[in-house]
């Protein structure tokens, strides 16, 4: 029988039952490999459930550092009888099945083209532990121990992680180490080892950090100076607000008074959440909310008001499959249009597209600055894949000389010095007016905030010219935004290319890997990672300097492509959608295949002949 053999390059998937304590054991497994200097990218595939339904944890081990989902499974740790049949189907031919053989499994339930490794996990647990909960929890550690023998993971790497986790909690430390030993001892004595899949120490992790995007974005909100957070629980964004609470407890408590330099409100719904954010933003505090698609739908009326009344607000949208009863625990990039044009009337909003946790941090900080600078809602468009999975990424950095950009705020001193104040007056030609914070001056700078019925000095007006003035100024402001948002990242092919690829957000790791394979097939493509909407000159240039541009997205309708056509007047025939939207993260395999096939079908010769445009 064929055997898959691979060192530092394989996929292992754990099939568990939700609520069985597997999550922390599986994370321990992934981190132990990181500690051996080998990059991993784990992904949670979980149901909308707390206890009892199936859950999976897929770990891609890849020395080269490809962090996208690969697809296919080389080793399945099948701990859930409910999903046994489907789990077995996913194993690649010549791959491995690890299972609990305490109870006999009927022979026809196996496949004959895979290697089967049975271990009496339940029996071992029952022999060692009396308490049912302990039996359950330590079973997970025991299989980690066994896997460490099968895959040659260093015992010290795991033991060290357990020691860090239970530092100062000796009561928990010793039994965990014992369970690890039980697993290792049994595997060493009874199982054929190592198997064809191995982990070997390398040096490819460097100073990278390992965390999920929701934590990173929350930290960005702390560093970016958000002092008010209002939110309503919704998967997959809830852990962002909760992480903000934890970081604030750590970093934002006045050491003398023990009082908080922040306010967090769990609102009654997303409408109230964005209302609170707007009230705070209007009143000069940096404020944000974290939500997902259904929450944005509820916020849209307020978002229109924020756009027209010019109120700073930061909205972090951790995208999931929509609608509300859709796929709340699956990933998608399907809220772009809903956010870009959210609300009634002529509205347009700024969107940022972080690619990983590091950029979640950076874009959260940038969004808080941009919201103040542009006096408008700013969306950070992350997704479940980035938000709820730990990802290896560049460490955070901060320049201590950096200050918050509070934008155009007219102070009492400026008013006293005779500066002319008109709340909606374009004094600098960039479409951005000055604002005052409420309470600034006894007789100057006060104004009445409302939607569209006003003139440049915020006086009630239903006159057409006043409306036009504001609407055209808002358009100018949106143009100004193009130069202030994070600019796209260009990767030119080694030889001149006439075909380009545009992608964004969580597609990044899969795209990075796919381009190597595409080039290996002789296809030459320039890449542009779009990092924000509205699109600036670099995006215009990229589209116009290529004959065809593939737009790779994780939604059905090609939403970014629609926005390119809509905003830039691009000929639709020149922007070709490459779409992945089954709820699983996009893979390099998918991109490579889809682009290769499309190029063949369109008879595109990717190499540029003649002069470079």
């Amino acid at each position: 029988m064929k055997s898959i053999t691979a060192t530092n390059d394989f996929v292992i998937k754990f099939a568990n039952v939700n609520g069985s304590g597997s999550a922390s054991a599986n994370e321990l497994f992934a981190k132990s490999i990181l500690r051996m200097g080998v990059p991993v990218s784990p992904r949670n595939i979980f149901p909308s459930n707390i206890q009892g339904l199936p859950t999976w944890y897929e770990v891609r081990v890849n020395e080269a550092g490809w962090l996208g989902r690969r697809g296919g499974v080389d080793l399945m740790v099948a701990m859930n009888p409910q999903t046994w049949d489907n789990d077995l189907k996913e194993i690649e031919t010549g791959g491995y099945l690890f299972y609990d053989n305490s109870k006999e499994v009927a022979p026809e339930k196996f496949r004959d083209d895979i290697h089967v490794i049975g271990m009496p996990l339940t029996s071992l647990c029952n022999a060692s532990y009396g308490d049912p909960r302990q039996r359950q929890l330590f079973k997970n550690i025991i299989y980690i121990g066994a896997l460490s023998i099968l895959l040659e993971i260093e015992e010290e790497a795991i033991a060290q992680l357990i020691a860090e986790q239970y530092k100062g909690k000796e009561k928990l430390l010793t039994p965990n180490l014992n369970a690890l030993k039980i697993g290792r001892d049994y595997a060493r004595e009874n199982l054929q080892h190592p198997i064809g899949l191995r982990v070997r120490r390398a040096d490819n992790v460097g100073d990278k950090i390992f965390l999920d995007g929701n934590m990173a974005a929350a930290l960005g909100c702390v560093y970016g100076g958000a002092s008010v957070c209002a939110w309503y629980p919704i998967t997959p964004s809830s852990s962002l607000a909760e992480a903000f609470q934890r970081y604030c407890s750590k970093f934002r408590v006045d050491p003398e008074t023990q009082q908080n330099r922040y306010a967090i409100v769990q609102a009654e719904d997303e409408i109230a959440a964005i209302g609170i954010v707007m009230g705070a933003g209007w009143n000069g505090a940096r404020a944000f909310t974290a939500t997902s698609g259904p929450g944005v739908s509820l916020m849209t009326e307020f978002l229109g008001l924020a756009y027209f009344a010019e109120i700073p607000a930061t909205i972090i949208n951790v995208q999931r499959g929509g609608p509300s009863t859709g796929m709340p625990t699956r990933t998608q990039q399907a809220d772009l249009i809903a956010c870009a044009y959210a609300s009634h009337g002529d509205t347009k909003h700024v969107l940022l597209f972080p690619e990983d946790p590091t950029e979640c941090f950076e874009h959260a900080v940038a969004a808080l600055d941009l919201a103040d600078r542009l006096q408008t809602p700013i969306f950070v468009m992350t997704d479940l894949d980035i938000g709820m999975n730990q990802r290896l990424c560049e460490p955070f950095s901060w320049d201590d000389s950096r200050t918050f950009d509070r934008g155009k705020v007219m102070t009492r001193e400026m008013l006293d010095a005779g500066r002319d104040f008109g709340r909606y007056l374009d004094v600098d030609g960039d479409g951005i007016p000055y604002r005052t914070y409420p309470g600034t001056h006894p007789t100057m700078g006060g104004y009445f905030t409302r939607g569209t019925t006003k003139n440049a000095r915020a006086t009630y007006s239903e006159a057409g010219p006043d409306y036009l003035y504001n609407m055209q100024r808002l358009q100018r402001k949106f143009d100004t935004a193009k130069t202030l948002v994070p600019q796209p990242v260009l990767r030119k092919a080694s030889t001149p290319a006439r075909t380009g690829v545009i992608y964004y957000g969580s597609t990044s790791p899969a795209m990075a890997e796919a381009i190597g394979e595409l080039e290996a097939r002789g296809l030459v493509l320039d890449l542009l990672r779009v990092r924000a909407f509205p699109f600036g000159e670099p995006v215009v240039d990229f589209v116009s300097s290529h004959d065809e541009v593939f737009v790779v997205e994780q939604n059905r309708d090609g939403q970014l492509r629609t926005m390119l056509i809509n905003e830039l007047g691009v000929d639709p025939a020149r922007v070709i959608p490459i779409l992945h939207y089954d709820g699983t993260p996009i893979t390099a395999r998918f991109i490579t295949q889809a682009i290769s096939e499309m190029m063949r079908a369109l008879h595109i010769d990717a190499r540029k002949t003649g002069k470079v445009a």
Binding site: Q258, Y262, A273, G279, S397, D399, P438, P442
Partner: protein, 351 residues
């Protein structure tokens, strides 16, 4: 009412308050509501209360939703910042504004469509959270701007202008505010300035969620026989439980009241509310009996007015959240950003 600009000149003998302001300095733009609208009387009462309390107009933030009542913040305190938000959602915007700067006075103005229908949820939750504010509901039982539909506060059996009886049960916002945890709940009538002005002053002095339901007849659509929100009906059925005098840190005034007929409540800011009892057995500090009293008299067709409930030990959202005394909008990088050293430590913990 009119498009005529308001003359800026005023009579030189108008009295000044301690800040040197006349009442005119507390006015706003000229009202565009119908002549005789109860809402304009409420605006006048707000102006009077703020002037009497020597409140700096620019230290007031006035917020509203959508509707006739929500237009009124434009008609008083012209030097204050105002925010005309979206329909029914003023409470959340006010909450956020209050979180950002606890040092201002927050005045929320709303109507019955705004607070009892589309915004009932936000109305309930802003009371629960104890946001420090004065929330005035200008209650006329009818949708004015959309020309005369019943609102959720219209009494069952009350007739519309066209003679149709309302079949739905009314929402009593004062009872709801009590239930939700408001710590100052009052009801008044726009036609009774003598009762309303001290009530607004007392609400301003209150630390926490202060709610005043003001029955404010709509002359255009709800002032006819058969309506329970008309001037005539409210005048005939107004059952005041008490009358208020506000004593601001001055030596006690020595008006004589018969023993047991008045009670003093000291507020956080040192002002004293002297409640002159109209209903002998009414105790404004007893929440449960207040609810019973309101319901009992409502069943009799009466409109119970006065200071219905006050919790003198009230706290507010900032106390609940344990926020710093400095307004959050005044905190700088120094207080808000942990800096690079902390970040390096964090990085190290994530490997």
């Amino acid at each position: 009412m009119t498009y005529l600009a308001k003359p800026r000149l005023h009579h030189p003998s108008l009295p000044h308050n301690a800040l040197g302001y006349t009442r005119r300095d507390y006015e706003g733009r000229i009202s565009t509501l119908c002549a005789g609208c109860g809402h304009d009387s409420i605006s006048a009462a707000i102006i009077q209360a703020c002037w009497e309390l020597d409140i700096e107009p620019h230290r007031v933030a006035k917020l509203s939703g959508i509707g006739c009542s929500s237009k009124t913040p434009d008609y008083f305190l012209g030097n204050s910042h105002g925010f005309n938000t979206v329909h029914g959602r003023m409470p959340s915007v006010l909450t956020g504004a209050n979180l950002a700067n606890r040092a201002l006075l927050y005045l929320g103005v709303s109507g019955d469509g705004d607070s009892a229908s589309i915004g009932l949820g936000q109305f309930a939750h802003v009371m629960r959270r104890g946001v420090n504010m004065v929330y005035i509901l200008e209650n006329n039982g009818v949708y004015g701007l959309t020309k005369g539909q019943f609102s959720a506060t219209a009494d069952k059996g009350s007739a519309s202008k066209k003679g149709v009886a309302n079949a739905d049960s009314p929402i009593d916002t004062a009872s709801l505010a009590l239930l939700m945890g408001a710590t100052f709940v009052a009801r008044s009538f726009s036609g009774d300035k003598g009762q309303l002005v001290p009530m607004i002053k007392a609400a301003i002095g209150h630390q926490g969620a202060a709610f005043i339901d003001v029955v404010s007849p709509c002359l255009a659509f709800n002032n006819h026989p058969g309506s329970t929100k008309s001037y005539d009906y409210v005048r005939d059925h107004n059952e005041a439980v008490n009358f208020l005098d506000i004593i601001e840190g001055r030596p006690e005034i020595t008006t004589d009241y018969a023993a047991g007929t008045s009670v003093d409540v000291v507020q956080h800011d040192g002002t004293i509310i002297r409640l002159r009892k109209a209903a002998a057995d009414y105790d404004a500090t007893d929440k449960v009996s207040a609810m019973n009293y309101i319901q009992k008299h409502h069943a009799l067709g009466e409109v119970v007015t006065g200071l219905l409930y006050i919790d003198n030990q009230s706290t507010d959202i900032h106390a609940n959240l344990n926020t710093v005394a400095t307004p959050l909008n005044a905190l700088t990088e120094k207080e808000l950003c942990p800096g690079s050293a902390a970040l390096a430590k964090l990085n190290a913990s994530l490997r």
